[in-house]
Assembly symmetry: C2
Homo-oligomer: 71 residues x 2
């Protein structure tokens, strides 16, 4: 059973955030997202849409292909 | 002003669909999406979420990184 894409996406952005050595609050701020919503994305419980995916890739300074390559 | 990600995503999947030489109805069917919803995605008026992005990448037989590389 392949791992749910929401979980894979959450794990990928967590790894990227940790490499940036920032906490969730800082990451949420950089992405222009509410902290609790951002936390839910990392936990894989949010079905993130394109507009927020783009905010995250910009906020965490990673291209969209790279982001999806890490999943 | 960068092109809206929904429009870029729509253009990318249209190109992929045309390379597969299938119409929107066939593409929607392969992706397990309603035809009118699929058509809206290609027109860039839908803010597609992860679960449907994955259905599209599977339906159009293109990896997620490749799909986002074509945007």
């Amino acid at each position: 059973m392949p791992v749910d894409i929401r979980i894979r996406f959450g794990r990928a952005i967590r790894r990227i955030r940790e490499e940036l050595e920032i906490n969730q609050e800082e990451a949420a701020d950089r992405c222009g997202l509410h902290r609790t919503y951002y936390s839910g994305i990392e936990r894989g419980v949010r079905n993130v849409s394109l507009l927020n995916i783009e905010r995250i890739s910009k906020g965490l300074k990673t291209s969209l292909p790279d982001l999806f390559n890490r999943m």
